[in-house]
């Protein structure tokens, strides 16, 4: 499989990135903090007050290293990529098919089938340790019903309806998956803009990381991350990246957030409630999350469709590639990622 390269996360305010020969140099207060050969990197993600020299940006573009800028809270601001990669014919196929109702419904059903199946597996794994939790078991049964309802082709708006129902069911029992530090980590409902509690702050941050990886993977295979099938086009929104994220979220993001809390890798002190009620993480907590996210990417699993061993970090790339294959007519459907 393709090699999983590192992502460099720059979190310290006032950092300055520049090029030196074949390396990327990170300076803080005129002192070199880090120097990395470019060929070990696939992306650089800058959070908050981080600046980069123009020669560095050009160097990264030439070496296909994406440089992205986020606000301190993880809101995406800008991404710098080199020339558009891939095939214009593929992008045209993507646009045509995004306007084709039957085709769109077929792909969207794959995304949502996988998402619900994966959510259910997250619940089941937890319920094994909590025998007798009838609420958890009930939610898993509800998700199974939704899955069976999606076993035959249905219209796109009904798929979106099922997706909403399933998400409500899933998040309604999400709090039960927290098994330690219950007083600090309580989940009522999903809040995003802004996140209103610690768990939502965590979820939002990890989803941002995942969305970035998915968008890069889509661009890498020549697809336009903005033109989705399940997500309607909206300027500024990476619809296709969000589509692919649906199936990857439970496995890569939600389970990571749960283990960070349940294994006490992060603590209540790492979170701060601002005057508006919005919750922010501190730098140390963000660093832990990033480290664990990177670790998770190195884990090896068996891809259910390819039946090959792959590392988790390549899942966005693999799914992007499989989607491209379907759009080109190489496959007879989109084999969404369903983990067991």
């Amino acid at each position: 499989m393709k090699k999983l390269l590192n992502t460099l996360y720059v979190m310290t305010s006032g950092s300055y990135l520049s090029r030196q020969g074949e390396t990327v140099v990170v300076r803080q207060d005129d002192e070199i903090k880090l120097q990395l050969p470019i060929h070990t990197l696939s992306a650089i993600m800058c959070f908050g007050q981080v600046s980069a020299s123009a020669p560095l940006l050009g160097f990264c573009a030439a070496r296909k290293v994406t440089v992205s800028f986020f606000s301190m809270s993880g809101r995406f601001m800008a991404r710098m990529v080199g020339p558009v990669s891939g095939n214009v014919l593929l992008r045209k196929a993507q646009y045509r098919r995004a306007d084709d109702q039957a085709f769109t419904a077929d792909i969207a059903r794959s995304f949502i089938l996988a998402k619900i199946a994966n959510c259910r597996t997250v619940l089941l794994r937890a319920s094994r340790e909590r025998i007798g939790d009838t609420v958890l078991a009930g939610a898993a049964d509800d998700l199974k019903t939704h899955l069976l309802n999606l076993s035959e082709p249905i219209a796109l708006d009904r798929i979106r309806g099922k997706e909403g129902d399933a998400a409500r069911t899933y998040f309604s029992v999400f709090d039960r998956l927290i098994t330690s530090q219950k007083e600090a980590f309580v989940f009522h409902e999903r809040s995003r803009r802004p996140p209103l509690d610690n768990i939502n702050a965590l979820l939002s941050f990890v989803y941002t990381l995942l969305a970035h990886d998915v968008a890069s993977a889509l661009e890498g295979v020549g697809l336009d991350p903005a033109v989705g099938f399940l997500h309607r086009d909206r300027p500024g929104r990476p619809g296709l990246a969000l589509d692919i994220m649906e199936e990857l979220r439970p496995f890569t993001a939600d389970r990571l957030v749960l283990s960070l809390i349940n294994l006490r890798q992060i603590k209540a002190e790492g979170f701060e409630k601002t005057a508006s009620g919005a919750v922010q993480m501190n730098d140390a907590t963000r660093k832990i999350v990033l480290t664990e996210y990177q670790k998770k990417k190195q884990e090896e699993i068996r891809h259910p469709f390819l039946n090959e061993k792959v590392v988790v970090g390549l899942l966005p790339h693999i799914q992007a590639m499989l989607l491209a294959r379907y759009l080109r007519g190489d496959l007879d459907g989109y084999p969404a990622f369903i983990f067991r």
Partner: protein, 228 residues
């Protein structure tokens, strides 16, 4: 005759001779994945293109020449052209831009590794010669490879068969590019040496209905897992 806008890269012919799908993935879909072999190849070529013209034992060496053929619709570059001075046009000598006298042109292409069993490399050399012949109004009977292991020159006769095969591939390449369709994979032993194997996925399930079967089967397996 093709126009300059229509020209396709000579390298595509080699890829095509190796595998039609590989050629389409690279030249139609714009996919390219570096592997160890291709990266080492770059290093070698950078070196070849580094120096300017030099004269060695009376033979002039010109490196990194860009060539094209409007007849075959190809464009590419020649690693090194050796120009041996000859007395007359009768001896096969051609006049060259910027040089006095007449010369016998001889193409040398640098390759890492050893001579291959298939003829992908010969196709490339022949295509370069066809381009150069058109540009110079010359006729080139022979060219050569310089292989890294062993460090040895290997001459190739540009006979009618090789020329015909090269021309046929140029036509086929154009058909594929014009169609916009990447041919389906056929898994073969050569796939293991292909730098695009992870993009091509020659062994991925691809028969009609395979994805819907995968989805049905996997969902069945997942839903049959019972709640505790």
């Amino acid at each position: 005759m093709f126009t300059e806008d229509d020209l396709l890269p000579i390298s595509a012919l080699q890829h095509l001779a190796f595998c039609e799908r590989q050629a389409a993935l690279i030249h139609l879909e714009g996919e390219w994945q570096e592997n160890k072999l291709t990266v080492e190849g770059h290093g070698l070529h950078d070196k070849v293109h580094e120096d300017d013209a030099e004269v060695r034992n009376g033979v002039r060496l010109v490196r990194g020449l860009r060539v094209r053929s409007l007849e075959f619709g190809l464009v590419g570059a020649i690693d090194m052209l050796e120009l041996t001075p000859v007395d007359s046009a009768e001896a096969g000598g051609v006049a060259l831009p910027g040089l006095r006298g007449r010369f016998l042109p001889y193409i040398v292409e640098y390759k890492r590794g050893r001579p291959k069993l298939d003829h992908c490399d010969e196709i490339q050399l022949c295509a370069q010669a066809l381009c150069l012949e058109e540009m110079l109004g010359a006729s080139i009977a022979e060219s050569a490879f310089f292989y890294g292991t062993p460090r040895r020159r290997h001459a190739v006769t540009l006979d009618m068969d090789l020329r015909a095969e090269t021309g046929r591939l140029a036509v086929r390449l154009r058909e594929i590019i014009d169609s916009g369709q990447t041919p389906p994979p056929e898994y073969a032993p050569r796939c293991q040496n292909c730098s695009l194997i992870d993009l091509c996925l020659p062994q991925a399930p691809r028969q009609e209905g395979s994805v819907s079967r995968y989805l049905k089967r996997t969902i069945n397996e997942v839903t049959s897992e019972e709640t505790a």
